[in-house]
């Protein structure tokens, strides 16, 4: 059962090695696609981890009304912050194991040795993780917003803010995951390292909904979130690659 669901290191390296290592765009895209498809396949064969993160997200969000009381006005004000913090924590939980399995079975080393630029492969892996795990959190957020009696337009703003912000969470979280790969207690440590860096995303993400609810418009917040996303897309993969090289030596 395990052999079916976890591909060996050689099986991952083979497709990568089969494609000639020319620095042309088509071959780069080929390399990207190979890793992306591989990771998606692995994620779908073992949905347990993805579903656990999803359930954690739902449960944390549901705990808040139980904790602070059911007063609708208060819940409406809190909704964005609560959903955002829960998404943050669920992402951290999910990302902390991003490189752990690969580290253990040697896939990580073959990724480092592959003929493609490591940042590119890292981006592919992160994209697959986001599509298979984090996207589910984003898609379920409108349903959770119902628990907080959030208006339809505010829910829409929350959805877009999560859509823009969660990739940044993945990209920056991967830095923490790469720095702590293979360490004992890596999950907690990784969250400790990454959460301070994600404070701006949280502030502007949740702030977008607050601004919308205050009739100020979420445009400015969305702009900043886009800027953060672009910055993360450009800078994070290289940093993650450097961190992986440090970890594997």
């Amino acid at each position: 059962m395990n052999e079916l669901s976890k591909l060996s290191a050689t099986q991952v390296a083979q497709p990568l090695a089969a494609v000639p290592a020319l620095p042309s765009l088509p071959s780069l895209l080929q390399g990207w696609r190979t890793v992306f498809v591989q990771e998606m396949r692995i994620a779908f064969r073992r949905p347990g981890h993805t579903l656990a993160a999803l359930m954690f997200f739902v449960m944390v969000v549901s705990l808040f009304p139980l904790g602070v009381g059911p007063e609708p006005a208060l819940l409406r004000r809190m909704a964005a912050g609560v959903v955002w913090v829960a998404a943050l924590l669920a992402c951290m939980l999910s990302l902390s194991r991003l490189f752990a399995d690969d580290w253990q079975d040697g896939t990580l080393e073959s990724l480092l040795l592959a003929a493609y630029p490591l940042p590119l492969l890292v981006l592919a892996k992160l994209a697959a993780h986001w599509c298979s795990s984090v996207l589910l959190l984003v898609l379920i957020s409108p349903v959770l917003a119902l628990q907080f009696d959030l208006s339809a337009s505010a829910t829409g703003v929350l959805f877009v803010s999560l859509l823009l912000g969660t990739p940044v969470l993945s990209l920056v979280g991967a830095i923490g995951a790469a720095l702590t790969v293979g360490l004992r207690g890596a999950g907690m440590l990784m969250s400790l390292l990454t959460l301070p860096l994600l404070v701006p995303v949280l502030i502007f993400g949740a702030g977008a909904v607050d601004a919308h609810q205050a009739d100020l418009g979420a445009g400015a917040h969305f702009s900043v979130l886009c800027a953060l996303l672009l910055l993360a897309l450009v800078a994070a993969p290289a940093v993650v690659a450097a961190a992986l090289r440090i970890a594997v030596e």
Partner: protein, 243 residues
């Protein structure tokens, strides 16, 4: 050309640091006493804030040190990463606790200044939040370094983390310009100074005192780190065994 890298060896840097430390302590003490005299005794009372403003003479130096030390720490970590220098990484490790203490002092003294002056111990504005994030970054650096057993991997990983966090320092510095915050705006800028001279001089002297203190503490710590890490070498064993 040789002289810059001469002291890059821990064995040669150790005695150099040892010679610098007493002078730095003396400077810190003298400047500190003089600065406190200027600040607490000579400087006049503030028209709006009363005597409470005198906290500025420790708050601003601590805050400036917290940012400066982070930049120095990240700088040395970068040197350690690029040039594979052990001593540079050791220096980064030595700076972190001092920087964290300065950040804590900036937050503490800021809270004590904020309560009587603006009515609140804390507010979630851009400057205070990013200063708090700075404290978390320092702690994260130390935690990551401590969690990795292989010292060189620890140096490199923590160094990378420090470099990633550098982006926070300009945010702290420019936050009062970019956002409407409760924290007061910059009194000292390239375009001029909006502070009375006796206060300014006192603050600058205290900053120099804090600076001397921080360098002294960091050099003391790096000497300790050198001894601990190079324990297997002959020169360290001779140094430790000497009565």
């Amino acid at each position: 050309m040789n002289s810059i890298f001469y002291f890059a060896a821990p064995q040669r840097f150790y005695p150099l640091a040892g010679r610098l430390i007493p002078g730095l302590w003396l400077a810190a003490a003298l400047l500190g006493v003089f600065g406190l005299y200027l600040g607490l005794v000579r400087a006049p009372v503030d028209a709006q804030q009363g005597q409470a403003y005198r906290i500025i003479f420790v708050h601003v130096p601590a805050a400036w040190m917290s940012m400066l030390i982070y930049l120095a720490m990240a700088g040395w970590a970068g040197v350690g990463l690029v040039f594979n220098s052990r001593l540079a990484s050791m220096m980064a490790c030595a700076l972190a606790p001092t920087g964290a203490i300065m950040t804590f002092l900036a937050l503490w003294t800021g809270a004590l200044w904020g309560k009587p002056t603006w009515g609140t111990w804390w507010v979630w504005d851009a400057r205070l939040t990013s200063e708090l994030v700075l404290l978390f970054l320092y702690v994260g650096f130390m935690a990551l370094h401590g969690a990795i057993e292989d010292v060189r991997r620890a140096d490199r990983a923590a160094g990378l983390l420090a470099l990633v966090g550098v982006v926070n320092v300009p945010i702290i510095y420019f936050s009062v310009k970019w956002w409407n915050t409760l924290h007061q705006g910059a009194s000292i800028s390239p375009s001029g100074v909006s502070m009375a001279t006796p206060m300014l001089v006192g603050m600058l002297v205290m900053t120099l005192a804090f600076w001397a203190y921080c360098i002294a503490a960091a050099l003391m710590r790096v000497r300790f780190i050198i001894l601990a890490r190079e324990q297997h070498t002959g020169w360290v064993q001779k140094t430790l065994e000497a009565p």
